[in-house]
């Protein structure tokens, strides 16, 4: 047992430090890299587990341990040990450990295992650091670390174009959210002078914040929306399936997407007074839950169904957070735990299935029940938990969410979540049916299908077992998180009734549609597939298309402005201005082409006219200037040179010759003509003067 004050630091420092040694271990003994990573994660788990004991001792208030980091800015490096952070840390570390064990075998045929385990360790370390952080800046550090790791892990098979693009998409989309989060954090800092959660809470209570709280809270919420893949920033998550399955399991089950939820749950204590904020969370979550559930129903990709389901479940969690009651907050955290368990389980199962069948297309799969009994059983447990079928953990947590919604009397949200739950049950049964039940498809006929090796299925069984029993720990968890929700009999009963109705609707529908396959051939093929609604859903409500349009627009704008301003714009401008004037001067100045020339011409007067006569073929001011200068100098130099053969003269001659030579070179090769530069600078100067005149003097 490690003392709490060390464990809180070590739990994230160990994976971080451990990841640095991965290349070294790989040099010494390449095959051991996986087990090394498992050992490091195990140490982290030992730390997080020993944090729990401190929380159970009855005094569940927060402990803060800090060391100075940037004294100049009054920022400390500190960790916060409270029930919420310890809970999230344990989810991340424990599930991370199981996924690591699974990966040792799963990834053994890959070439780049050191890179994989390096980023996995960093990923877990980043997530642990994020949940343990006591101030927003430190949290943001780890927040970005997690984002970077996800980028490299999703793009792990970077030689595949799709994977590389998916990694970039995940990074950029979440970064859009991150930037807003940073803006929110900075606004808080500017107003309160601290990043510390507890201090900010006190200052807010004291009314020290002058900027509207709504602005700050919404900005920070956008960060969470990006990370937790809520509408409209959900588009990265389905593509994130391009990564290896353990990565998907880690992203969906334990780390990345939970970070957004954690952020909202954490800043909940700061902003729970802001009613519009809560309403926004509720509806962002509710709408996300419903939209993603419909997308999961129409997707025909083994892993994408699960990805859409993650978005949908996270939406439910978000909406529960937004209810604003203590029970709603608790329900969301409860569902975080059960979702972490069943979703990582399902992804690991999907990884196994993909490993033996080499396909992700649900239409090509089917009838794997007999060949893979263990995988079948654990998948069914996972899917039933997802569908909310008792006694698995998903049922209990979903039930709690319904209880919270019913007690809050929020009818629109109830309808959204009710619809989501029906769809969830249908698509989870569909998933099971199309992978395991029915006849083996022709595609799989020549595959040798078998259950995986024990190293792989032991984590699966552990996760399945946890999914079975976690639901019964509702009361201890309530006690642990320090939530004192009023037990309301009517709420519990109504919630149970709702769950029963959901199952009563969903199970028969799913049974007929997917198990009996009554409707598929007739109904779907003819009507649904060409239905505009179906098209809308299967194209993901056209979010991607719109974003692509915007991106292309920005790119086009960049190229356009670059072309216009950099090359032609400044050149064109003088023509427009000079157009009228040039008509007047045409008789004498018809060979002069640029504004600057004419300017010089007016000033230089007669002297220039003679110069023009000799240099009619030259059309740019600069060249002519060089010629006049050089020609004159050469002439003098030559004459002088004949008489006085001195060193200095030769220098002048050399210089003059060179000038002519380079003048000719320059004439041949123009990038952006110099007069344009001067003109742009002149325009800038006028802009300065105008702005100053308008604003500077009071």
């Amino acid at each position: 047992m490690i003392p709490v004050e060390y464990a809180a630091w070590l739990c994230w420092a160990i994976p971080f430090a451990g990841s640095l040694f991965v290349p070294l271990v790989a040099k010494v003994r390449r095959r051991s890299v996986g087990w090394y990573a498992v050992a490091v994660t195990f140490l982290a788990v030992a730390c997080t587990l020993s944090l729990i004991s401190g929380m159970l001792g009855g005094h569940a208030d927060a402990h803060v341990y800090s060391i100075p980091w940037m004294p100049a800015l009054n920022i400390d490096l500190s960790v916060l040990v409270d029930p919420l952070s310890v809970m999230m840390a344990n989810i991340a570390a424990c599930i991370g450990l199981l996924i690591m064990i699974y990966s040792v075998n799963y990834m053994k045929k890959e070439k780049a295992t050191p890179r994989f385990f390096f980023f996995m360790l960093l990923f877990i370390g980043g997530m642990l650091g994020l949940v343990m952080a006591n101030n927003l800046l430190q949290m943001y550090f780890f927040w970005e670390t997690v984002g970077l790791c996800s980028y490299s892990l999703i793009g792990f098979w970077y030689s595949r174009d799709d994977a590389a693009k998916a990694g970039m998409k995940a990074f950029i989309v979440t970064r859009v959210g991150d930037i807003f989060l940073l803006l929110g954090i900075l606004l808080l800092y500017v107003n309160t002078g601290t990043f510390n959660f507890m201090e900010i809470k006190e200052l807010i209570a004291a009314g020290a914040v002058s900027v509207p709280m709504l602005t700050i809270s919404i900005l920070m919420l956008i960060g969470a929306i990006g990370k937790s893949a809520q509408v409209p920033l959900h588009v990265w998550l389905p593509n994130a399936m391009e990564g290896p399955s353990p990565v998907s399991a880690l992203i969906h089950g334990a780390t990345m997407v939970k970070a957004g939820i954690y952020l909202v749950a954490r800043i909940y204590i700061l902003f729970s007074i802001v009613q519009p904020w809560l309403t926004t969370i509720t509806y962002v979550g509710g709408i996300t839950a419903f939209l993603a559930a419909t997308m999961a129903l129409t997707s025909s990709d083994l892993k994408r169904v699960l990805a859409f389901s993650t978005i949908s479940q996270l939406g439910m969690i978000m909406s529960a957070l937004g209810i604003g009651t203590e029970l709603g907050w608790f329900a969301s955290q409860f569902h975080v735990i059960s979702h972490a368990l069943f979703k990582s389980l399902l992804f690991l199962c999907a990884g196994v299935i993909m490993h033996v069948t080499h396909t992700l297309d649900l239409k090509q799969l089917g009838g794997l029940r007999k060949a893979m009994p263990i995988t079948f059983i654990v998948s069914v447990i996972g899917a039933f938990s997802l569908a909310g079928i008792p006694p698995f953990s998903g049922f209990w947590s979903k039930d709690t969410i319904f209880e919270a919604i019913i007690l809050a009397n929020n009818v629109p949200l109830f309808i959204l979540i009710f619809g989501t739950s029906v769809l969830t049950a249908i698509y989870s049964i569909r998933w099971i049916c199309s992978v395991f039940l029915g006849e083996r498809s022709a595609f799989l006929a020549d595959h040798h299908i078998h259950d995986p090796s024990p190293i792989i299925y032991v984590p699966l069984i552990l996760l399945a077992a946890a999914s079975c029993i976690t639901g019964f720990f509702k009361t201890p968890l309530e006690h642990y998180l320090g939530v004192h929700a009023e037990a309301s009999m009517s709420g519990v009963l109504l919630a149970s009734a709702t769950s029963a109705v959901i199952l009563a609707i969903a199970v028969p529908v799913a049974y007929y549609l997917y198990y009996k396959k009554r409707a598929t051939s007739l109904f779907f093929a003819r009507n649904l597939l060409n239905n505009p609604l179906y098209l809308l859903i299967s194209n993901g409500y056209y979010f991607d298309a719109v974003y692509n349009k915007i991106l292309n627009g920005v790119m086009g704008l960049a190229q356009f402005t670059c072309r216009v301003i950099e090359r032609s714009g400044v050149q064109q401008f003088p023509y427009v201005v000079a157009c009228g004037a040039s008509k007047l001067a045409q008789g004498t100045l018809n060979y002069i082409e640029s504004f600057l020339d004419r300017f010089v011409y007016v000033i230089a007067g007669g002297a220039v006219i003679t110069a023009h006569k000799t240099h009619v073929h030259l059309d740019a001011f600069l060249d002519r200037f060089c010629y006049i200068l050089a020609g004159g100098t050469v002439e003098t130099a030559r004459v002088t040179h004949e008489y006085i053969d001195s060193f200095l003269d030769r220098m002048v001659y050399l210089f003059a010759g060179k000038t002519v030579e380079h003048g000719q070179k320059i004439k041949k090769m123009h990038r952006g003509p110099l007069p344009d530069f001067v003109l742009a600078a002149a325009l800038g100067f006028f802009l300065i003067v105008i702005l100053l005149l308008l604003t500077a003097l009071r």
Binding site: L148, V554, F685, A696
Partner: protein, 493 residues
Amino acid sequence: MNIIDILLPTIVFTVCSLLTVPLLRLVRKTKFNPQHFMVAWVLLTFSAAAAGVFRIATEYFGQAESFLQISSVDTLLESMSTVFLVDTVSVYMVIAYLIVGSITCLYGVLHVSSQENLSERYYALMLMVTGTVIAATFSGDLLTLFIFWEATAAGSCFLVAYKKSRESLESALKYLVMVIIASGFIIYGLSLIFGLTGSLNFWTVRDVLLTTANPELLVVAFAFIIAGYAIETAIVPFHMWMPDAYTAAPDSASAFLSSIVDQGSYYVLLRVLLFILTPTAVVDWRFTVAIFSAITMTAGNLFALAQQNVKRMISYVCIADIGYNLIAITSITSIGLMGNLFFFFVAAMETALAFMVIGVFRKMGLETLDDLSGMGRKMPLTSVAFVCAALSFSGVPLFAGFIAKYMVFTSVLQSSVAWLAVVGVLNSVLQTSYFLRVIHYFYAKPAKSDVPFKEPKKLLVPIYCLVVIIVVLGLYPDLALDLLSAAAALLPT
């Protein structure tokens, strides 16, 4: 402390630079390896100058006043004489120049082969320019500042023209013409200031301006001076010489110029705006500068996005950086000043690092994004260094760029032009996207040919020095911020 003490670093650089040409020619005639000699010579010069700076710093920190003023003439004519100034800001900047300058000069020595004809002039110019930048930073009146700054610009011009190709000569000429126009603007503005105040001494000017009866005339003077320095710092739309010059200059010269001369020019702008012409109660220039900041950031990033030539892209990033710097200058807060100074240092290292890595690639004839496809696997170490620079540019935590951007954005949120923060933040997203595009080319695209490339071990040494400093400062920014918190107190109110 007398005037010799303060000029000592500059004198060291100048003398060493003059000695470089004959010494290197001598060494070439012996069996001694000229490259080894030059490495030793650069290190010797920089450590001698560092010793001089160290002496100034100890003397300055040993005394109670917040700045030291050293003039060449006593009492009577003090307001007319050449004055030098030592305060935390200038000491910090000079330390930054020495660190980044020594690394980029070493890179220059390793990159431009010493066997190459005329290379000794190139090295001499680098040392000379470092010396003049340091003198400009220490100067305490507007005329001294102007003179040393023009010397710097002249030296930079020759660095750009070193290759004597068409492009480099053309862009050097453009640079020269722009610099001359800029000095015209500045001199005219200075003459107006002198007319208004009767002095060019920083403190006298400031004190007189605070109570000036002629704010209209001051506006005119201000406009001219700012336009002049805007050309030298390449604020959009005064920027057009810069991409040409940096693209055409030798690769090591781009790294050197972007890290030393560019940062020096920001410093000059900061000094002039914040410390000398600052009385915002008299002339409120904040909105004007804010507009230019927004234009500069946006244009720099948009143009960078549109580039195919990586070196040109990095030059546009330099321009975008100026926009970020202007954000912090606009805010006139202590955190903004700290952020600015930290940003100078970090941006110097980032751009130097990026140019140095690009220099390695260009030595092999790889110039455009397409050429760089698949380089991540062929030259892993070099590419990783570029990735570090890119992440730091985009403001990803763990790298120093994040801390710098964080301070800059915080400062502007505290000020009256908070909308600039939004523009800046959106620009950050834009910046991330085009840097990711480069990384995408590095790692995701298949390589164009199967020719194996060898990583240049020697060139990687200075490159990785910078990577280490960027990461260390990103994790523990207090190393620099500690020095800066004193600077924040200097800000005139």
